[in-house]
């Protein structure tokens, strides 16, 4: 059987033919759309390396059937930076050395973006630790990750504040 689904991936509308309903969103991205930034660490929702945003929410792309996501907006690590300008979370991960081998990093960053949008951590490092616990980093870059999320959250809040003032003016 072959299915045709519509996705908006990193802002770009795409029609994707799926010849096998078993294809997960993760394998669709990696093996069929040549978007390999999203990583496979466990393929079972146990590590977070495959985290992407679907309709703005962070999820494990390994546990989603692509066919099931017809019509969804998907944001991956490739869609975060604007040209050469890194997203605040990406920049903060570099500044705080929030990674070593880099393999879990796309998932960590997408998870952090999702976390900040969810708005439940505020500036509490303990809440960030808890809410980033779905992303395993075997190298052990957690301290830098927490620092990076704290900083990025502040940067984004400041940006939003500036934009808000500008709009109000």
């Amino acid at each position: 059987m072959s299915l045709s689904i519509s996705l908006v991936i990193n802002g770009e509308p795409r029609t994707v033919q799926i010849d096998d309903p078993r294809v997960t969103l993760l394998d669709l991205l990696r093996e069929r759309l040549d978007m390999t930034g999203t990583k496979k660490g466990c393929d079972r929702g146990q590590c977070g390396a495959c985290t992407v945003l679907v309709d703005g929410r962070r999820i494990n792309s390994c546990l989603s059937l692509a066919a099931s996501l017809d019509g969804a907006r998907v944001t991956t690590i490739e869609g975060l930076a604007e040209g050469d300008t890194l997203h605040a979370v990406q920049a903060a991960f570099i500044a705080h050395d929030g990674f070593q081998c880099g393999y879990c990093t796309p998932g960590q960053i997408m998870s952090a973006v999702g976390l900040i949008a969810e708005g439940h951590a505020n500036g509490d490092p303990e809440r960030i630790r808890e809410l980033m616990s779905g992303n395993i980093c075997r190298c052990g870059a957690y301290q830098g990750i927490v620092e990076a999320v704290l900083e990025a959250q502040k940067t984004l809040a400041d940006q939003a504040g500036r934009d808000g003032r500008r709009n109000a003016a």
Partner: protein, 760 residues
């Protein structure tokens, strides 16, 4: 200590001068945060097929049938490799591959020696088809009883431990030492099988072109592996190109050849199409190594002053039924504490498991875990503070041999770590501290130590007429920061800003960068780069000094220094010449120099070379429920010259987190009847998550080492685990009064203050 310690270097980098010693951010940072860093399984050559191996579900026996027809009937399945049709290999996989290779399982016969051993390889047009094809094989077996632990494994006298270390070392008269002791403490310690579980599962994309093959695979030892693969496939070593620009973690597991990767390469040759194989997470538990279990006994004799009179450390180390890597755990007792008599001994234990191998601090981690708890028990018996006890037994020279240490700033580590942690005033007795919420609080410490190996390495440095340079070595960045630190070393040797230095690495065709292992990569590959850079500068100097148009003309005997892309006459900054000008005038587009580097054997023989450290841990334990949380960790480490403090701190943090993991979480839960690991995943095989990791501090204690190598660089990648495991276990004792001697320490060990809930 402030609860949320901020690293002083986390502010935007201010660069003073340049190069080595500066906390530069990672050169590969942008690639890694944008998803553009390519790992092996990200490659997708035209026409690529997918391979998935079927792993045995028994630990010992034979495969009697495979439903190959069912697999082949699945749409998209192209081929099924089994012992019946597997093409020949040029090297016998049941023979070890020198120098370090293990025996591997590549469908040579129907024997099964461990769970998850490859018993077939399915190749298909899609990943989905290959996966299901492997599931359809429905293997049947004749099963023999698996040997899974000390009770039923086969014990044997060890010929060697680790990578070529002797199984037994004796210094002094051990019995005389115990006879002279005022007190003897003795206890047994167990460490379980642990699995590396790098976030990136092992993978390979193999593409043949005639008798040449390109392998995209994560690999910690590029040159060595290229030669080994060539031997397996009967082709010249230069016909194997391994590309490993990034590894998604290695921790030792990506230094050795393994069966699944060889089979995928073989399938690509057989089918004349590129083939990709990526292990599933479950398949990481078996064919790609692990940290073998140990059963250790420590006997510690002390005199009235709390000084060691004898230290006896024995380890029974588990290995597979068909190879012999033994965790050199007891050797952890050799270099650290002064004792007139030290005896370390190892015995082997054969189990029906995949062959263990080096896993981050092999031997040191397991051995230090036991040793540091044993020292704590001895200190307790002597009524001494654990830090005072270690200071009383401080080794001024290497115990047993009396060799001087090439450098040893361990006293500074103890002092700085203790001060930062606030160790002073710690009550000697356990169960004396509580926090405001009623949690039991405990403080523990341990000494960290790790040797400084040096691997032969080569490098090439090319100065270009545009004032930039290219440096090349087949180095490996598995997260430790080689791209950055090695480039810093090269830039310093070349007198260039790092931004002007192009760094090529991660490909086997480059000059050999040696092995990324043993915490020796920065020193080994770094020294080769340093030497190549110096050679290039020397040649450039010779060009300038022979050039009448150069301000340096005719200054040959005085010499030059290299700085910011210019050569300066030594002690006279008024006479200088730029690299670009020297090369342009000589009509040269570039100037290349190579170098090899190895350790001077005479210096090595005359000195004991180790990194040292001290780790202080605080834990909180729920007094009723037994759940443990590490609440603070402070490590102070002395590892010679620090090339990049930002990256080094991250290495220490990573090692200390592995210490948390070892102490409290990691264990492969093996079914005693079948040998199957019942938690072969990342949900139930626990490694720390973010919430497990407390605010940490790593203090970089200055240390100048004139002997270890000309750079003065020691290793930092593995030492963080050592010391930390013991510090946490000792802190748990201090909080609860329970001496846990089996790792990981679990809730049931703590409940009711002891071992009453332990299963036999």
């Amino acid at each position: 200590m402030p609860p949320e310690a901020s690293s002083p270097i986390s502010a935007p980098t201010v660069r003073h001068g340049s190069n080595a010693g500066q906390p530069l951010t990672r050169r590969d940072g942008v690639l890694k945060v944008t998803g553009r860093a390519t790992y092996a399984a990200d490659n997708h050559p035209q026409g690529m097929l997918y391979a998935v191996f079927a792993g045995s579900r028994i630990a010992r026996g034979r495969v009697t049938s495979l439903d190959v027809a069912a697999a082949k009937a699945h749409p998209g399945v192209v081929e099924v490799l089994t012992p019946a049709n597997r093409p020949p290999l040029a090297h016998d996989p049941d023979k070890k591959m020198p120098p370090f290779g293990f025996r591997v399982d590549v469908l040579q016969d129907d024997r099964v020696r461990y769970v998850n051993q490859p018993i077939a390889l399915v190749v298909a047009e899609t990943l989905e088809a290959a996966t299901e094809g492997a599931a359809l094989l429905d293997p049947q077996y004749t099963v023999e009883r698996a040997r899974t632990d000390l009770s039923n494994g086969e014990r044997f006298a060890a010929n060697g431990v680790g990578v070529g270390a002797p199984p037994r070392t004796a210094h002094g008269d051990i019995e005389a030492g115990f006879a002279a002791a005022a007190r003897i403490t003795e206890a047994e310690y167990e460490t379980p099988a642990q699995y590396h579980n790098a976030m990136e599962p092992h993978a390979v994309v193999a593409e043949w072109d005639g008798d040449r093959v390109t392998l995209d695979m994560p690999n910690q030892a590029l040159s060595l592996s290229a030669a080994s693969y060539a031997a397996y496939f009967g082709i010249p070593a230069e016909n194997v190109l391994i590309r490993s620009p990034f590894l998604g973690g290695g921790f030792g597991s990506k230094a050795m050849l393994n069966g699944p990767q060889i089979l995928a390469i073989l399938a690509a040759r057989m089918l004349k199409r590129p083939v990709k194989l990526a292990l599933t997470r479950a398949q990481m538990y078996g064919p790609v190594g692990h940290r073998g279990a140990t059963w250790q006994t420590l006997r510690v004799g002390t005199d009235d002053g709390g000084r060691l009179t004898a230290l006896h450390h024995r380890s029974i180390s588990a290995t597979s039924s068909f190879d012999d890597f033994l965790e050199p755990a007891a050797n952890a007792s050799l270099p650290l504490y002064a004792s007139p008599a030290i005896l370390v001994e190892h015995e082997g234990l054969r189990l029906d498991t995949g062959t263990p191998g080096p896993m981050r601090a092999p031997g040191e981690a397991s051995g230090s875990a036991a040793l540091e708890v044993a020292l704590d028990e001895a200190a307790e018996a002597c009524g001494m503070d654990p830090l005072d006890f270690r200071l009383a037994n401080y080794a001024q020279t290497e115990p047993g041999t009396g060799r001087p240490f090439s450098s040893k700033a361990l006293r500074d580590c103890y002092a700085q770590g203790a001060a930062r942690f606030g160790w002073a005033g710690r009550p000697l007795e356990p169960r004396r501290m509580r926090d405001k919420d009623g949690f039991l609080v405990g403080w523990g410490m341990g000494t960290a130590v790790f040797p400084c190996p040096h691997f032969p390495a080569e490098a090439r440095a090319t100065l270009r007429a545009d004032g930039t340079a290219l440096v090349e070595t087949s180095g490996v960045d598995m997260g430790q920061g080689a791209w950055t630190a090695l480039a810093q070393i090269a830039a310093e040797a070349l007198g260039l800003d790092p931004d002007k230095v192009e760094f090529h690495s991660g490909v086997s065709s480059l000059p050999s960068g040696g092995i990324a292992g043993g915490s020796g990569h920065t020193a080994s590959a770094g020294l080769a780069l340093h030497n190549a850079g110096q050679n290039a500068i020397a040649e450039l100097g010779a060009l300038a000094m022979a050039d009448p148009a150069s301000p340096l003309f005719g200054t040959g005997n005085i010499g030059v220094t290299a700085r910011d892309g210019r050569l300066y006459l030594r002690d006279d900054d008024s006479r200088s010449d730029s690299y670009a000008d020297i090369l342009s005038r000589a009509g040269r587009a570039e100037l290349a120099a190579t170098a090899k580097a190895a350790r001077d054997p005479a210096v090595a023989a005359a000195h004991a070379m180790f990194s040292h450290g001290a780790v202080f841990a605080e834990v909180k334990v729920d007094p009723d429920l037994g759940q443990i949380r590490v609440s603070r960790l402070v490590g102070a480490f002395a590892a010679g010259r620090i090339i990049n403090p930002r990256l080094v701190r991250s290495q220490y943090f990573g090692g200390m987190i592995w210490g948390i993991s070892f102490a409290l979480q990691e264990v492969a839960a093996t079914d005693r009847r079948t040998g199957r690991i019942m938690n072969a995943d990342l949900a139930e095989y626990h490694v720390p998550v973010n919430a497990d990791v407390p605010p940490m501090e790593a203090i970089l204690v200055p240390e100048d080492d004139p002997y270890v190598n000309p750079l003065g660089v020691k290793g930092v990648g593995e030492i963080g685990i050592t010391g930390t495991v013991g510090a946490i276990a000792n802190a748990v004792w201090h909080a609860t009064g329970v001496r846990a001697r089996r790792f990981p320490i679990r809730i049931e060990d703590i409940l009711n203050g002891g071992a009453s809930f332990r299963a036999a």
